[in-house]
């Protein structure tokens, strides 16, 4: 019990004294997750929208594929990216193994299916709701798509935050392709894993507290937005 309290005290000290190592890890985590989320959204939002509103041969297969990929095991993704970007792999010439770039790619593979799949469900629902109205108004496709995305913005924000949650809390893939190298690829989750195994619970706990705080803050903002949107019947 004492060890636990000591760890808690130490972790708060690290946070409130703005420990340099801690914040370097934190910033890298946010950077890697943020960039992978941004890129996944750039791919996932249009792809999800396309899947929702267009009919084409094999559409169901794509939907099943993306739904299945939502549950991809991170270590498997890490392994695949490792094999692709390792020196002997087809993309070995890029020299990105054990860099944040490889971590971003791995996280993108993990979160893009979530963005695609959930966006597709949301846009399909709203496009069905607006179908007759837009057909009657002869709304051009591009304006319809903008309207779907805009009017479903609160639901899509939930998707984006779900993607962020998956990215920021992920450990299996980034530890394989990033290597958990100090001052280079060490992020919060990999540090927690490493420091726990070393018995250095205070740093692990400090990072755990920050990670939880980030999750709590994003969920709090999300719930506030949802309540506001529901009150106005925008969802």
């Amino acid at each position: 019990m004492n060890i636990l309290l000591e760890a808690f005290a130490k972790s708060f000290e690290l946070v409130f004294t703005l420990n340099e190592d801690l914040f370097e890890i934190l910033l890298l985590s946010l950077k890697v997750s943020g960039i992978s989320l941004l890129l996944s959204c750039l791919i996932g939002l249009p792809s999800g929208t396309f899947l929702a509103i267009k009919s084409f041969w094999g559409k169901d297969a794509f939907l099943v594929l993306f739904n299945t990929m939502m549950g991809l095991p991170p270590v498997v993704v890490g392994l695949i990216v490792y094999l692709l970007v390792s020196r002997s792999g087809p993309f070995g010439w890029l020299g990105i193994l054990y860099t944040p770039t490889a971590m971003i790619i791995a996280q993108m593979i993990l979160i893009t299916p979530i963005i695609v799949s959930l966006t597709s469900q949301i846009i399909e629902e709203i496009s069905q709701e607006y179908k007759s109205l837009f057909a009657s108004l002869v709304v051009p496709s591009h304006k319809a798509i903008i309207a779907y995305l805009f009017d479903a913005r609160y639901s899509i924000l939930t998707v984006v935050l779900a993607g962020f949650g998956r990215a920021i809390s992920e450990v299996g893939a980034v530890i394989i392709v990033g290597g958990n190298i100090d001052h280079l690829t060490r992020v919060m989750t990999t540090t927690i894993a490493l420091e726990t195994s070393k018995g250095n619970l205070s740093l692990a706990l400090a990072l755990g507290i920050i990670l939880l705080s980030i999750a709590l803050t994003t969920n709090f903002i999300l719930i506030r937005l949802k309540i506001r949107a529901k009150r106005r019947m925008y969802v």
Binding site: V138, D151, R232, M233
Partner: protein, 244 residues
């Protein structure tokens, strides 16, 4: 009251419907119906539930596929240019998940209509002045239907299609919508509306199309129809008897 200055509207009338058949799935909804809608008329499309009235309006608006037959607007087949000059108000209004003003702005943007003033005037006309920032889906049933009508008016339609526009509405909304229908007619629009309210049909319509079981049984002048309906089904319907 609104001035009856006739606008320069693209001439979409007469609307000729010839041997029109429409199916939904395996069900034949419209069975070889033929009729002619005169220019600048108010035509009430009446008949029991499931007779095909709504689908008839939707088909004129180009929203359903035609199995057989044809619809022409002043001898031209329906196309996007023609559809851009039509406006439809659905029985259950679909409102965007935005506020009242943004709902209007959307139509304004789609139809390239510019004008804050026009939107303001139309909202005033339908009794929604001062509702700009109110979320549209929080409006009452009557207000929703009036907003739906306001969006349609923004298009300045040559053909206005109204699917039970006053069903279940309060007397205020009903009166307001009927006044607007008459004003639009005076301005030159051709109007088709479905209704179950015979008194409303008598108040508004110059012509009647009577549907039963996917067929048009009568198309005639409203006065003639209510005074002397030709078919026994129409007689029963006017008398409030159940058609089986």
């Amino acid at each position: 009251m609104y001035k009856s200055n006739k606008k320069k509207l693209m001439k979409l009338t007469p609307i000729e419907v010839i041997d029109l058949s429409v199916s939904l799935g395996k069900d034949l909804i419209l069975d070889k119906v033929s009729c002619s809608i005169k220019n600048n008329s108010i035509t009430a499309v009446i008949g029991p539930n499931g007779a095909g009235k709504s689908i008839f309006l939707q088909t004129i608006n180009g929203l359903t596929n035609i199995d057989n037959g044809k619809i022409t607007f002043n001898k031209i087949y329906n196309n996007d240019e023609i559809r851009n000059k039509q406006a439809m108000v659905f029985q259950t209004p679909t409102l965007l998940r935005r506020n009242v003003k943004s709902n209007m702005d959307f139509v304004s943007n789609v139809k390239n209509k510019n004008g804050k003033l026009i939107i303001k005037n139309i909202l005033k006309r339908v009794g929604l002045e001062g509702y700009d920032n109110k979320p549209a889906r929080l409006l009452s049933g009557g207000e929703k239907q009036r907003l739906s009508l306001a969006r349609a008016l923004l298009i300045e339609p040559s053909v206005l299609l109204l699917d039970e526009p006053t069903a279940n509405l309060d007397p205020f909304s009903l009166k307001l919508i009927e006044e607007i229908i008459l004003e639009e007619s005076k301005k030159g629009a051709t109007i088709l509306l479905t209704t179950h309210d015979m008194t409303q049909a008598k108040r508004l319509a110059s012509d009647i199309i009577f549907f039963n079981k996917g067929k048009i049984l009568e198309q005639t002048d409203a006065n003639v129809f209510f005074r002397n309906p030709l078919t026994k089904e129409a007689k029963k319907y006017i008398n409030g008897e159940i058609l089986l």
